[in-house]
Assembly symmetry: C2
Homo-oligomer: 269 residues x 2
């Protein structure tokens, strides 16, 4: 499992402010803390208006790379911002994201292909997110097929099944798990990513639901979750899931976290 750290995201008000004010220290602290907490990738999202976004995203890329040496997940739907940012990254980036939407296919796929990037492919097209597993898989097959046609190998494709909210559809968890299992079996070299928190929207004590979902999704094939690596409760969930699933050799990560005091229960939810 490799975590994509989600915190440098301009849709969060503190980050938005830091981008607007060029608060380098704030962003660099977020970057360092997430990498220290185990992030393998860092998502960077400027979240600004299209005309400002290329400059803002490049600024984020540069200041983040001053303090950490991890690959970046360039988070934008704006081809102009992405193509500028790609010029400044030190490691091959992950593009977040492409989908079956015509506009994204036309704007982003050529970039991914020519720059040799990896890419997150959402189970979404111009008609929205398919409601059932089979339709979602049909869409994923089409998008993965188009990526492969452009020379993007399976191991560079990160499929996001797009997790819906349980509070509005009781089947949301099962749909996500079944989609992940099918993707894992059909595209064994592809990665599976998703956010861990959408599932619990509208429910109380969301972290408990998020933990259960993360645990089950790791079983179903999720290998690159997008999450806050500093979230102590989520960390307990993923570390223990890896132990129970037999993926933490000699329980080394788990016992190391224990010795670092990371497994104590928080005082409050």
């Amino acid at each position: 499992m490799k975590i994509i750290g989600e915190k440098i995201n301009g849709t969060r008000s503190q980050v938005k402010k830091a981008v607007a004010e060029r608060d380098t220290a704030f962003i660099q602290t977020l970057a360092k803390n997430q990498v220290e907490a185990g992030a393998f990738w860092l998502d960077v999202n400027a979240g600004t208006a299209p005309e400002r976004e290329p400059e803002d995203l490049v600024w984020l890329v540069n200041i983040v790379q001053e303090v950490v040496d991890v690959p970046l997940c360039l988070d934008s739907a704006n081809p102009a911002a992405l193509s500028e940012a790609i010029k400044h990254v030190r490691h091959t980036p992950l593009i977040n994201s492409l989908s079956g939407e015509k506009k994204r296919m036309e704007g982003i796929l050529p970039l991914v292909s020519s720059a040799g990037c990896s890419v997150i492919a959402l189970a979404l097209d111009d008609k929205g997110i398919p409601a059932n597993v089979e339709d979602r898989l049909t869409l994923i097959r089409r998008v993965v097929g188009e990526l492969k046609n452009k020379g993007i190998t399976e191991d560079r494709i990160y499929v996001d099944p797009l997790v819906m909210t349980i509070a509005s559809n009781m089947e949301a968890g099962q749909i996500a798990m079944k989609t992940m299992q099918a993707v894992r079996s059909e595209f064994p070299n592809a990665h599976i990513t998703c956010g861990a928190s959408n599932i619990s929207f509208g429910l109380p004590v969301r972290t408990i639901i998020n933990q259960a979902f993360l645990t089950l999704a790791l079983y179903a094939g999720l290998d690159t979750p997008i999450l806050d690596p500093m979230d102590r409760e989520l960390r307990k969930a993923w570390l223990s899931a890896e132990v129970v699933l037999g993926r933490d050799r000699h329980c080394l990560n788990y016992t190391r976290a224990y010795r670092s005091g990371l497994l104590e229960q928080a005082a409050k939810a």
Copy 2:
């Protein structure tokens, strides 16, 4: 999911003392608290020497039934104790347990059959617990077959795959899950039971591992876990797993637990 409350067990020192001293109040409090916390069955285990056990188990059955009206899980390997206790139960009991061991088959199977009880069948025989999933299933098939031959229908059979300890075998979690999934698919009307804590033996902050295991096992087919229903951390795990798996209609159990203050994080592990 229906919980078998595990706390009235003579191998626990406080219960052993209460049985020896005929401390009715102590046992009855354990019974009431577990049922209040959601136990569907109550396990009763006297844990005393064979010659004392019939009398002690009957005493437990009687005083428990004075305060709660739930079916009991009669926990003993002693046919004499079981046959006495069966005479005193108000509801059809669950016998804990039978296995492929010759002695248990001969001593306990006739009792289960003639009294029309339900029974827990362990994946164990005179050679021990099979190390891999296939051998475990072969044994389970044989035991379930013998039970069916004696007229015990599948819905009265509770298969316990016997969860091993991760610390001694990294595959223990996967073996348990795979066994459960196979049993669920091969014997769709049978129940699946197991203790939730053996998995974490020897590891720190065991409750975190137990929660992950319980979450994954509920997915794999576990429907009658043996556990401490008063354990707040485990409760969070099973309530949230049921939500994510789409089994908690309108999230009613989850939100009810929230309103009762049961989902707050404990101050310490």
